[in-house]
Every structure is written in structure tokens, then in C-alpha cells.
Symmetry: C2
Subunit: 274 residues, 2 copies
């Protein structure tokens, strides 16, 4: 007999979970804790599988479903299956359908880039190294001025970093190599350099990073592999493996990483100032 009406969507499910976990007896709390951390498995697993993974009896999981307001496990599972069906436009299938139709329409290309972006984001989520990111934030947060450099395909990222730093009131200088080719003299004691470069690495970017290093300034690099010339210099290396579709990359994952970095640096500085 349900105490309350069943959650209508995944968000409500998690709210309910948080609200009741504390008041639950041992085994039921085990269920709650397991599902909180692995809600994504509900859609594809059976009661028996989940129960085993959570370390409880199937019947305990059933009781849990009913306490949550569902009539049983099946109803709870339906909630997750429906929500995933929505979230899943299944690009792989979609892309196959598209490319099966026409040869290289702009829509096919778009689907391809969307798919490549999605995969890149997934890779980034899996491979991101929290420690390095924290270290990069600390380095840039402590700098007097953050110099940003990125040319060619990396320029878009550098430009966005510049925009976000400015919005977050972080002193920032964008080296764009336009006219003012070598602005290395702007590098001062107490500054830090944030360099963005991907293969084939633009020499000017590498040169500026080397110069900063020679001057004893800390360098943070956003690049594609730990084998890039930027990692030879030392400093903090953040890697993003951007998947390409055709000859181009959409930079989606790089933008997400850049944004997270810039916003973190911004809030880190605010805390220090206050």
C-alpha cells in the first residue's frame, strides 16, 4: 500500500529518495543507497540482478519499490525506461539512417558532428583527471594576470576563455598573434600562461609557452595528448581527446573543459578576495 503517490519522473524519484533514506531500516536503506548511485541500471536490470548488486534479497527490493510509492518493481522500471527512451535519440542509428539516404547533405554532416561531439564529451567525462584540474585552477587562481594563447583552430577556445575570464573579472590578456605577433614582453613576474594547442601544434603557441617557462612563470596547457610539445615544457597538462568526423572537429568537449576551468578560476579568486 503506497504511502504517497509514485514519483512521476526521474527527478522526483531522486527527491523522494533523499527525503526518505534516513528514516529507513537497514536493508531498505541499502536499497536506497545503491539506487541513488546507480539509478541508470534500473532500466536494464531485473529485480534479481539489482538485489544482488545492492546486497539484499529480491523481496527487500520489492518492499522498497512499494515504499517509494510504486505498485512494484515493474512500475518503477517503466519510469526509467520511458525517461531513457526520451533522452536517447540514439545518434548512431540516426546517423546510419541519414547517411543511408543521401550522400553528404548538410543534415548528415550535422548529425555526424553532433555524434562526434557527444562521443568526445563522453570521453572527457571518463578521462578527466580531477587532481590536474584542481591544480590548474589553483595555478591560474593565484596569478596576477592570466595570459591566454591559442591560434588557428584553438583560437575559438582561447577567445571564449577570454570572454569568460572577463565576465568573471579575472585579469586576462588574449594573445591573438594579430599584427602584434610577439607580445611575449607582456609576460611579467607573478603572471601565468594558459596555452591551448592541438596537433599540428602551432609554433607560435609553443614558443610563447617555452618563453613563459623560461621566465619561471607557471604554464597550464589544454591539449590533445600528453605527448604534445606543451607537455615537454612541464606545467599542468589538461588533455581532451576530440573525436573528428571527416576532417574537422567540433571542439565541443574542449569548450566544456575550458568553461569549467575559467569559471572555477573565477570563483576561486572571489573566495580569496573576500
Amino acid at each position: 500500500m503506497p504511502d504517497q503517490p509514485a514519483p512521476q519522473n526521474v527527478e522526483e524519484f531522486h527527491q523522494r529518495l533523499r527525503a526518505m533514506t534516513d528514516a529507513l531500516p537497514k536493508r531498505l536503506r541499502q536499497c536506497a543507497e545503491y539506487l541513488a548511485a546507480h539509478a541508470d541500471r534500473i532500466a536494464l536490470s531485473t529485480v534479481a540482478e539489482l538485489a544482488q548488486a545492492a546486497g539484499v534479497q529480491p523481496s527487500a527490493l520489492m518492499r522498497f519499490c512499494q515504499i517509494m510509492g510504486f505498485s512494484g518493481f515493474s512500475e518503477m522500471q517503466r519510469l526509467f525506461r520511458e525517461s531513457y527512451a526520451q533522452v536517447w535519440p540514439d545518434y548512431a542509428t540516426r546517423l546510419r539512417n541519414l547517411s543511408a539516404q543521401g550522400p553528404e547533405s548538410s543534415t548528415t554532416l550535422l548529425a555526424g558532428f553532433i555524434d562526434a561531439s557527444r562521443i568526445s564529451l563522453e570521453k572527457l567525462a571518463k578521462t578527466a583527471e580531477p587532481d590536474r584540474l584542481e591544480a590548474a585552477v589553483a595555478t591560474l587562481g593565484a596569478a596576477r594576470v592570466v595570459h591566454v594563447v591559442g591560434l588557428r583552430r584553438a583560437f575559438a577556445v582561447a577567445a571564449y576563455l577570454d570572454y569568460v575570464f572577463d565576465k568573471m573579472e579575472v585579469p586576462c590578456l588574449l594573445h591573438d598573434g594579430l599584427g602584434k605577433l610577439d607580445r611575449g614582453h607582456a609576460l611579467q613576474d607573478g603572471d601565468a600562461l594558459l596555452a591551448v594547442s592541438f596537433a599540428p601544434y602551432t609554433p607560435e603557441t609553443i614558443a610563447l609557452a617555452e618563453r613563459a617557462h623560461a621566465l619561471g612563470l607557471p604554464v597550464v596547457a589544454i591539449t590533445d595528448t600528453t605527448l604534445s610539445p606543451l607537455s615537454r615544457i612541464g606545467g599542468t597538462i589538461l588533455t581532451v581527446a576530440e573525436v573528428d568526423f571527416g576532417a574537422f572537429r567540433s571542439m565541443s568537449a574542449t569548450m566544456a573543459l575550458a568553461l569549467a576551468l575559467a569559471v572555477s578560476v573565477g570563483s576561486c579568486r572571489r573566495e580569496v578576495e573576500s
Copy 2:
């Protein structure tokens, strides 16, 4: 009795499907065609549901599974469930776990931006309008010079468009409003303008678009809603709804759209030239 060993992954499954569809009798071909287009449903559906959706009897679907080399439906479903479990790092759950831990670490932020990017890409995939995209490609493909404008947060996108156009050998001029505030005079007969702007719309961008329109030049706009000032002008409007996390947007979907547009224009021009 399986004719061949079962496909080991989703890619092989689709290959096998293509290879045998033609040689199949009516009902079995119906199964093949339905599954080719809706492979993503296999993981979450029952035999009965899929059979009904494909317009065949459950037994027909069973026979189909066996012809494909599986022992039965369950084995085929297992293939898809496993492949989806891999593809699914389930950011929503991941993010919840992260934010439950610390308050606002840079890693939490990164997870948040990745999640927001993913959702934006999904939205773009769902809402993209092929006709408009084709129209935009045609317009820009026919232009003598493509003028690109985008300021503030849109500048990164404009810069990347400029880079890709250059690589694709499309004559292109980036209006960056740096020092050379008003370069409207560069607009010539036969040119086209590609304007990028999001709320709150930068006045300079709108002004340039209006000017181009007044001169009779075609305008293509990448913007956030069809209600933006850019759509009042007329021209071809491409919308991207970028989801934000905190106060910032990662521009991932916009970058994917911009890239698809630029590459399409590039190849469209090559075809015309040759």
C-alpha cells in the same frame, strides 16, 4: 539453427542486416527494415512490443533473430543492452553523485557543463530543420564573400567559422569589432552575411545585420530563438537552444551547428567550381 555465428557488436549487427535484407521474404524483411531504423528500441522492448511496432507476429521476429545468427531474441537483446551500458556513463547520475560530495569543485562544474552540453546536442539533433540548413548553405555557397559577425560570447563561434571557412577556401571576412568598429563598408553586392548572436543580443551585430539587409544582401543567422531580433530582419534563421549550467553556456551545440554549416558551404562551393 544459425546459418552464421551471431554478430558480436552493434556494428556487425548492422552489417549483417544490410547484407541479408534483400534476400529475405516479406515478413522477415519487414523485421529487418524496422530494426534497421529502430535498433535503439531493442534494448528496452519485449518481443511482443517490437513485433507489433514492426507489424509482424512475434514468431516472425523470433525466426528473424535466429536467421541473424542469434539463439533467440534474448541473446540479441543482450547484445544491445551491453552495448548501451557502455555508451551510457549516465551523466545525470554521475553529476548527482558529484554534487552530493563537495559543494562546487571544478570537477563538479566540469561534469555540469558536460551534462549541459550533452543535453544541448540532443536538443539540436531533435529540433534541427534540414530545409533551413540547406537554404542557409545555398545562400552562403552562392556568395562572393561571406561576412561573419559575432561578438562577446558569440565571438568564439564566429572565430571558429572564420577558421573553417578559411580551411575550406571560402572567401571570408570576420568582423570582430576590434578597433575597426564599423566595417560595414566592406559589404559589397553579391556578398552574404552570417551573423551569430544570443540573448542579450549585442547591438553591433544586429546593426550590421540590418545594414546588410538594407543593402539587399542575404543574411543567415545563428541564434537562440526565432524571436531574436535577427529573425525580424528576415533571412534564414538557424536556431540552437543551448542549455546553461550556472550562468554560462558551453556552446557545444552551437559549435557543431556552425561547423556543419561551414563545411557544407565549403563542399558546395567546390562542386560548383569544378
